[in-house]
């Protein structure tokens, strides 16, 4: 009788331990919770239609848990999209290495989120994963990163959130989801790049962005000087200008970067940003699909590329680009933007990337890409509309332009170099395709309202380098 009683009781005692051991208690995941013997490699965040895959070689990759260490306060908080901007957002942050709290609470009521210590009335809790990474070149620079993905939220809505865990929360930030795909309400995005050596200059531009309130920012690469040096990344995320901290912008304005030659596809880049990651042929293994990607926002489509590959990898990326643009429904998303670090049309210090021009311009021309956004040269430089090549050459042919050098009825692609967010400025040059160029720190603001695009290029003092309106 006693034996029967014990046998009946055993599952009741053992089951919770089994459940905990398999990662139960985590508020936001399906998939393996990770443990020292079976590190977390991928999982599907709760409510998300995509999976998150972690690169190899990370230390202690696992779902977050309750452990805290010496530095539990979340720092380097920044937001991006790994899924549909209309229904998701993802947040990364850093803590001390011993802190494994990886939670995010969010809702539409700021005071409720501020007061929350977990899920509650109008406040949802989402958990994520955490890991330690570091470059073998700088063995003492290991960093612990946390990442949470929030999905299934409403389009066009402002959400308030904080990250960390009970007793160790960050400040409350707000982020807005995008409009429903294909919808055409007004939206705004910023373009900047090459912050590199001057975090103060970068922070000053981020401060300007807060007052412009773009819905997201495109970063054209070279965030830091030395990609494997985590000290550079720390300086980037901790950039400040006076009393303003760049984190206050980056935690609120989704940051969508491309790889630059200074990031150089190192683990520090992929580990610290959550980007759309569907692995495709040719991408480096550590990228887990983030080396190149695309996303829609309202009635615009963005392809985010990496021009560093050569040979078969470049061929694979080119094929991916062609396939991606072929699927774009121009009735729903009439605006097309391509982004990569090295420009294919520039008259400044670094020569144009002719390999990328040869591989990609035919595709840009075929699908009538509206703008190609680049960095690399630390200047402001904008081309006249270009479509096709001059006969027998690899030089772009100028297309019809209005008095401001803007396209007429989609006549051509404008190539923009916005590489002035902090790196040492270069001298300018002019070529036959140059519409405007200036040796100045700069950023660009695109306002899209249906079929009208208002473009402004700005200096850090708020003055306009140039502006024009382009209606399709």
């Amino acid at each position: 009788m006693r034996l029967a009683w014990l046998l009946a009781l055993a599952p009741a005692i053992g089951l919770p331990w089994l459940w905990l051991g398999c990662g139960g208690g985590s508020a936001g995941s399906t998939g393996s919770g990770g443990s020292p013997s079976s590190p977390l490699s991928s999982y599907q965040p709760k409510g998300c239609s995509y999976s998150v895959t972690l690169p190899d070689g990370l230390d202690d990759p696992s779902m977050g848990s309750s452990g805290t260490g010496a530095d539990p306060a979340p720092v380097h908080v920044h937001v991006s999209w790994a899924g549909d901007p209309a229904s998701s957002f993802a947040v990364n942050w850093k803590t001390g290495q011993d802190t494994k709290l990886t939670e995010l609470v969010y809702g539409t009521d700021r005071s409720a989120v501020d007061a929350a210590d977990g899920a509650g009335s109008g406040v949802t809790l989402q958990a994520g994963h955490t890991f330690i990474f570091g470059s073998p070149l700088f063995p003492t620079q290991k960093a612990r990163i946390h990442e949470v993905h929030v999905c299934g939220v409403d389009a066009g809505t402002t959400y308030y959130y904080k990250v960390g865990g009970p007793g160790h929360w960050s400040a409350v930030y707000d982020v807005a989801t995008g409009p429903k795909p294909g919808a055409a309400p007004p939206f705004r995005f910023a373009v900047l790049g090459d912050s590199r050596d001057d975090p103060t200059a970068f922070a000053a531009i981020e401060q300007k962005l807060v007052s412009e309130a773009p819905d997201f920012q495109i970063f054209t690469g070279d965030a830091v000087h030395t990609g494997v040096n985590q000290t550079d990344w720390d300086a980037f995320f901790e950039a400040s200008s006076g009393t303003f901290h760049a984190q206050d912008a980056m935690a609120r304005i989704p940051f969508m970067p491309v790889n630059g030659n200074h990031e150089n596809l190192v683990i520090n880049y992929f580990a610290q940003f959550a980007l759309p990651g569907t692995m495709s042929q040719g991408e480096v293994a550590d990228s887990e699909g983030e080396e190149w990607y695309s996303f829609n926002y309202a009635n615009a489509h963005f392809v985010m590329l990496d021009e560093q590959p050569t040979g078969s990898a470049l061929d694979a990326e080119t094929q991916w680009l062609a396939n991606d643009l072929a699927k774009v429904d121009r009735n729903r998303t009439p605006w097309l933007f391509a982004v990569h670090h090295k420009p294919t049309y520039t008259a400044s210090n670094h020569s144009p990337d002719l390999d990328a021009r040869k591989a990609w311009q035919p595709i840009y021309d075929q699908y009538k890409v509206d703008f190609v956004l680049n960095g690399h040269n630390h200047v402001y430089e904008r081309s006249l509309p270009i479509r096709g090549f001059q006969p027998g050459t690899q030089d772009g042919a100028l297309a019809q332009a209005d008095s401001n050098g803007a396209p007429v009825n989609g006549s051509g692609t404008i190539y923009l170099v916005a590489g002035g967010a902090g790196a040492p400025l270069y001298g300018t040059g002019t070529a036959y395709y140059t519409a405007h160029t200036e040796k100045t720190r700069n950023y660009a603001i695109f306002d899209i309202d249906g079929t009208t695009l208002k473009y402004r290029a700005l200096r850090p003092d708020g003055s306009a380098i140039e502006s024009f309106i382009y209606t399709k």
Binding site: T158, F187, D197, A213, G242, P424, G462, S467
Partner: protein
């Protein structure tokens, strides 16, 4: 059986149906007459932005406020709140100064003239000492220096900016940097570098640029002088005899040209392929070094006057070596690689 209950039920049903029809019709008319909150908000944002462009600041703030009320949790409400904060903070000195600043900020390329900037600078002197005046000072100083290339006017403007009350550290550093660069443009590199170091800006790329320029001021003429001295001394001591056609033909044999091409052209090709940021330096360094070496080896065969004078021979060899170093320095300087190296070293030492 009585028909009254049936009749009452029927009347009740018909009345309910009629009420339903009227209610639906009314609500659809209401729905058609009034746009959704989000649409109305977008419209109000457009109106507010037009008001901003037309410098009707109070109107813009009012419209942004209405946009927030239309849909307080919607995406565009954030933009409205940000603009209200920005405009409100800068309206403290009155709408006039802000409108004047916005007018200057929106000038198209080519519209900024000396007269226009001078007039605005004078107007700024009359602004109350609030944020919009500080930002106006910044615009004026940066425009004098970076857009109209008038360093003397820029120096005065940066000094006025630095004298503004309430300047935060970031603005102070930007103004200090601008002042130092403007002074450097007028020739005073030492004082500019000194000021930047004292301001804690010693590791900035602009400071590195001035330091390189300071070195180049004496190093470039010295380099050219060394190369010229080497060539002149070699020629004067009989080196010109080595430049005869037969000796040149001997010196430029296919074998030697092949070795020279391998030694000097290959690095250029490799740099172009694998280290493009050093390619320009290689492009200057390789032919200059090769040319100097060729010249030295050719002239050396004719240095009869130095044959029995070891001191002179040693001098020529020393000048030759120094000339090679000079060629290296000039290649690194003119290709901007020297500046890039200094900036990178400072970045790595952070």
């Amino acid at each position: 059986m009585s028909s009254v209950p049936h009749r009452r039920a029927l009347i009740g049903l018909v009345a309910a149906f009629a009420l339903l029809v009227v209610g639906v019709g009314y609500s659809s008319r209401v729905g058609a007459a009034e746009p959704s909150g989000a649409d109305r908000q977008a419209d109000l944002i457009r109106q507010a932005e037009r008001a901003e462009r037309e410098e009707r600041v109070d109107n813009a703030i009012r419209l942004y406020g209405q946009a927030i009320e239309a849909a307080p949790h919607a995406r565009l409400a954030r933009r409205a709140r940000a603009r209200i904060e920005w405009l409100g903070e800068r309206s403290r000195g009155g709408a006039g100064p802000l409108a004047a600043l916005m007018r200057m900020q929106q000038l198209a390329p080519g519209q900024l003239t000396v007269e226009r900037l001078r007039a605005f600078e004078k107007e700024v002197d009359g602004f109350p000492p609030v944020r919009v005046r500080r930002e106006s000072r910044q615009l004026v100083a940066e425009a004098w220096f970076h857009r109209l290339y008038r360093p003397l006017d820029a120096i005065h403007a940066y000094q006025k900016w630095l004298a503004e009350p309430g300047l935060d550290r970031a603005d102070w550093q930007t103004a200090t940097m601008g002042l130092a660069l403007a002074r450097a443009k007028l020739g005073d590199l030492h004082a500019s570098i000194d000021a930047l170091r004292r301001a804690g800006l010693g590791k900035k790329a602009e400071t590195s640029f001035l330091e390189v320029e300071r070195v180049a001021r004496w190093a470039c003429p010295l380099s050219f002088a060394l190369i010229a001295a080497f060539v002149a001394l070699s020629l004067g001591l009989g080196g010109w005899r080595g430049l005869s056609p037969s000796r040149l033909k001997q010196a430029l044999s296919p074998g030697r040209l092949g070795v020279g091409a391998f030694a000097y052209a290959l690095p250029v090709v490799l740099a172009k392929l694998h280290r493009p940021q050093t390619w320009r330096a290689m492009l200057l360094l390789a032919p200059a070094s090769a040319g100097l070496l060729l010249l030295a080896s050719v002239m050396g065969t004719g240095l009869d006057a130095a044959r029995d004078r070891p001191g002179l021979r040693r001098l020529i060899v020393a000048l030759g070596l120094l000339s090679q170093i000079a060629v290296g320095f000039l290649a690194l300087y003119y290709s901007r690689t020297l500046l890039g190296m200094l900036v990178s070293m400072r970045a790595l030492s952070r």
